[in-house]
Amino acid sequence: MATEQGRETDFLGALSEAQRSWMRLWTDALSGFPTTTERREAEKESPGPWWRATERIYGEWAKMYQEMFGEYWKGAPLGIGGQTFTRTLGAAQIHGKLYEFWASAARILSGTPTEGKTAQETYQEFYNSWLASYNEILKGSFTASFFEPIRSPLGGTAELMAMYAEGLSKFSAPWMQAMQGLPQKTVEALQRGPQGYGDALRWWLPAYEQTWGRVLRMPALGPTRETIGMLQQGIEALVDYYSVMTDFWSALYKVSTEAMQQVMTELGNMSSKGQAPKSYREFYKLWWTTNEEAVQGLYQTPEFSRLLGRVVDALMLVRQRYDGIVEENLKSLPIPTKSEMNDLYKSLYLLKKEVRENTKRVSELKKRLRSTGTAAKKEQP
């Protein structure tokens, strides 16, 4: 109870501080607000600093809640309330990020086009400038708690592999330096987001296969050859998994960015007809329904189905390699391994099945005996 009270006090303190921060944020945002008349006048000129404040305010607000309540729920007992709240705030944050997009779009689209450019070109220019940030929104939408389940089966796999990979990467440093063009590809990847990253990885993989990949596949020698061999296979599986996952993400991002283009076109059409969304919520609905539809279209394709199959296979291989490494390391300890437990489970399963069948047979035989006995008694004079 004392702990709970303590937690409650901490929470109230955090709440109070967060509210103060919020008020400061709010005041800052509002301080630049012109009056309605001033604002209308200001519309003719370039937007004031209050625009930028309002663009960020929703996102900042969601972030504040995420941090504040995230801390609180960390200390709280695991429960459905906390999980629901965390997921809701995660959604609020994405909602907030999209709001920034909407606010910027609305400002640009309602203003005059850039000199020498059509409205559509201004539109496109803005959209392109937003792509990098938009990837953040998509990442949030897909990963919020969506990919956690696929990460969790991996457990510490990635960390363990990363540790080994880090050690081995020291050997690969000269190779990495010798890779002509890698810096340029990296820059492209950073500029173009996941699509660029995917391209860079695809460019890099054959080089990896021919060089470092061959080193990893080399038969290991010496007394630790088995262990080293397993590690090599594990790293190779992890590289393959990352490669397939990149294709997977690229496919999703590609469709989602295309969907956003579609949203923008739709907005333009609606605007020209005087039917533009009257509120952010309307825009938000248009955004997520268009995205959902686009993703559904992708999902229906045989290519995506095959890609998903590859993702699962690659993930399973990483897990198998990881389990192998763990078992290898547990050999010297006096505890049963997963394989040994599986053998035991199988024996137990077969034994239980046999007992169950025999029990049934005995029960049926008893019944038959009883009925035979009863019949025999009846037949006796």
Partner: protein, 380 residues
């Protein structure tokens, strides 16, 4: 384009203040939720075997249908969806309409359950549960209601043991797996389930959930929660939401060998509808199903599309068979208002008119007793 800020700055700030207020109120609501009870309809444990448990619900109507009804749910989620809360409970509504209900809870498989097969579930646990209900009722036959994957199990069971099933009801059950309407059916073709089972043994529920959530990422992982933001201050709404959340993320793992056969023989090879599926060495011939059949599908089901459920009626040899369309989705069929008001009474009445013993009139508990009607080949 109209600039939303030019005219509506105050409105925006007001909206933000309102959301801020709702979120704080929502925190208060959520902090006060210590336990969201599900499955509260009174029941008794009457049989258990390994992790499987068989419950008998206490009656809620004066007159009961003389033939007990055994409900079998899917392995992939928990059966309390059938009894989520008092006003959203198909079980409760059926009890109020005089049904005598038993329900199987498959439990949560542990690592040692990886070798359980479909044969163990259907000819083992399900058959033993059926025998227990028969023994308790003193009847040779019972009514069987299978839901989702549990519906597939019920159909297989009825084909293997037609002598033990008086009436068969299936809800949103996949039977014909060769359809392009549902994503699960499409994706399963490229899923190497052998690899998954060999890796995990018992396939984690989270991994299964990942597949289900991925089907509609924006609505299931984003918009649903954004919508909740608007209602965070309403205690009852939040409690209902949290109950559903609890159910969605309460996913048992899947016994490896059982899911291996389910995916390979049903999703990939579609053996059930072809009468080629083998369970424990016995061929499952759907033509052996000759008892009255009520097949219910949901028009907007994205998990089990109507095209996967409807073909059952053409595959069986029952003379008395009814197909019922429900306006809603895979979950709404258990918890929606329409389900409570219309579906439950329809099922109860369908069963009651086909469960009369020795010409004895049976009441559904809310309607007047009436003589039995013999339906011949009815399709609606």
């Amino acid at each position: 384009m109209r600039n939303p800020f030019a005219e509506n700055v105050e409105q925006f700030m007001g909206e933000l203040a309102e959301t801020n207020r709702k979120l704080l109120k929502g925190m208060e609501t959520l902090m006060n939720i210590s336990n969201v009870d599900t499955g509260t309809t009174p029941r008794d444990l009457v049989y258990e075997e390994d992790r499987m448990r068989l419950f008998h619900y206490r009656p809620l109507a004066e007159k009961r249908c003389p033939v007990p009804l055994l409900i079998t749910y899917a392995l992939v989620n928990r059966p309390y969806m059938m009894d989520l809360q008092e006003d959203r409970s198909l079980v409760r509504r059926l009890l109020e309409h005089g049904q005598d209900i038993y329900m199987i809870d498959w439990g949560y498989p542990g690592p040692g359950d990886r070798y359980l097969t479909l044969d163990d579930y259907i000819r083992g646990y399900l058959n033993n549960a059926v025998d227990k209900v028969r023994e308790r009722s003193g009847l040779d036959k019972l009514n069987l209601l299978g839901v989702c994957q549990g519906g597939t199990f019920s159909v297989i069971y009825a084909a293997l043991y037609p002598e033990k099933v008086r009436n068969l009801v299936v809800m949103v059950a996949p039977i014909d797996f060769d359809t392009k309407d549902g994503l699960l059916h499409i994706w399963a073709r490229d899923l190497n389930i052998d690899n998954v089972v060999d890796t995990f043994g018992v396939v984690p529920g989270d991994l299964m959930n990942f597949g289900f959530l991925m089907l509609k990422p924006f609505s299931l992982m984003l918009d649903k929660y954004v919508g909740l933001l608007d209602n965070l201050g309403k205690k009852e709404t939040v409690e209902n939401f949290v109950r559903m959340e609890k159910w969605i993320f309460d996913s048992p793992g899947q016994a490896g060998e059982a899911i291996r056969q389910f995916v390979n023989d049903l999703y990939k090879k579609n053996l059930l509808i072809k009468n080629e599926l083998k369970i424990g060495g016995r061929v499952v011939d759907l033509r052996r199903i000759d008892m009255p059949l009520l097949n219910i599908f949901a028009e907007k089901d994205h998990l089990v599309p109507p095209s996967a459920s409807k073909p059952l009626n053409d595959a069986v040899s029952s003379k008395d068979k009814t197909i019922l369309s429900f306006r809603g989705g895979h979950i709404g069929i258990y918890v929606s208002g329409e389900s409570q008001k219309q579906l439950a009474p329809t099922i109860a009445e369908w069963l009651a008119t086909r469960s009369q013993l020795q010409e004895e009139a049976v009441s559904t508990g809310v309607r007047k007793a009436r003589p039995a009607k013999k339906k011949k080949g009815t399709e609606s």
